[in-house]
Subunit: 151 residues, 3 copies
Amino acid sequence: MANLMEDEVFMAFTTYAAIVILKMMLMAPLTAYYRITRGSYANEEDVSRKSAEEKKKLLKAHPDVERARRCHQNDLENVIPFMLIGLLYALTGPELSAALLHFRLFAGCRIFHTISYITVLPQPSRGLSWILGMLVTFSMAYRVLSTVLLL
Amino acid sequence: MANLMEDEVFMAFTTYAAIVILKMMLMAPLTAYYRITRGSYANEEDVSRKSAEEKKKLLKAHPDVERARRCHQNDLENVIPFMLIGLLYALTGPELSAALLHFRLFAGCRIFHTISYITVLPQPSRGLSWILGMLVTFSMAYRVLSTVLLL
Amino acid sequence: MANLMEDEVFMAFTTYAAIVILKMMLMAPLTAYYRITRGSYANEEDVSRKSAEEKKKLLKAHPDVERARRCHQNDLENVIPFMLIGLLYALTGPELSAALLHFRLFAGCRIFHTISYITVLPQPSRGLSWILGMLVTFSMAYRVLSTVLLL
């Protein structure tokens, strides 16, 4: 088994995969932070100690919380396909330099995507980083399907 | 490492996994297409050049956009478990014919599920393709747990 | 290929991964159950045989359905990163006892999280099980990045 972790491409994949997944997971504490500072909760038991009037107020959606949630959702829709396709891609034995280019580009895109989403940078910064990240995954999927095809 | 990609079951898994993930990823451009043609956006910076009145209109939800998003969400909830269970299933060394049956059935179900969701086919077409896809994943999970069990 | 499934750590990972994924997948039938018993649907074709007045009623959101959906979403946001990081973690060759501790703790946390979410247990039961589950994943990610780092 150890031989997988001795392969340089697989080591590079592991590194960048862990980085983008950690980035994605950090959206949850960020959402929690916005929920607390903006006073916007989704569950009644989270505001159980408050008066009925306060509860009503605290259970309303807040734009900052919704923005963080949309960003998290976009990560789920893009980072997880990258991970799964990337795992298969790493197993097809690509050149280390080509693999690193894919992984670095994707990680950079997603970090920039989150920054532009949360800090509300003007478009097309968010749109372009989203599309470029997807193209990286499509490029890896193309390599996977052109190397291994058994229908 | 190369020996994984020389295994026929793993090659079949790789092929169908890439297909269903690509299908899932295509929901994002479809949602973007509906957002543009139906004029329904989620973020203020996406409509920054419009007048205040137009903005209000463009930031409302549209049924077609919401439908594409629900379909995408259903893919996340079903395709990703299939991928992860399928990866473990492929490693348990099943018969190629049995594995192909699982993978083909699942891919067929999900493609039909998307068609019936987006083109609003009458029920139970969407419901049945959803349930059949889940049963395929359950069947693979059963094989995984009955072959490998270390609690 | 068979050598992966002869490794005890990988077998333990496979077992717990299948368990938490099955738990996550069961949120879908639970949501469907709430949709039917509470009379709350998201798609018009699901209520096509009803009168116009009834349709309007049946297409409204119900708190129980929304709660099950939030719980499912939280699973997606936590179980899938655990799976992906856990797969890489298992490949770094940790001690069996350390790996089992991580996997058992995570599975326990997520099962308790679902129970406390669906049965509306008072906080901080849901919050703590959510945070503890995340810490397990962070601990595995730390091990992965400190063993394998190729930027």
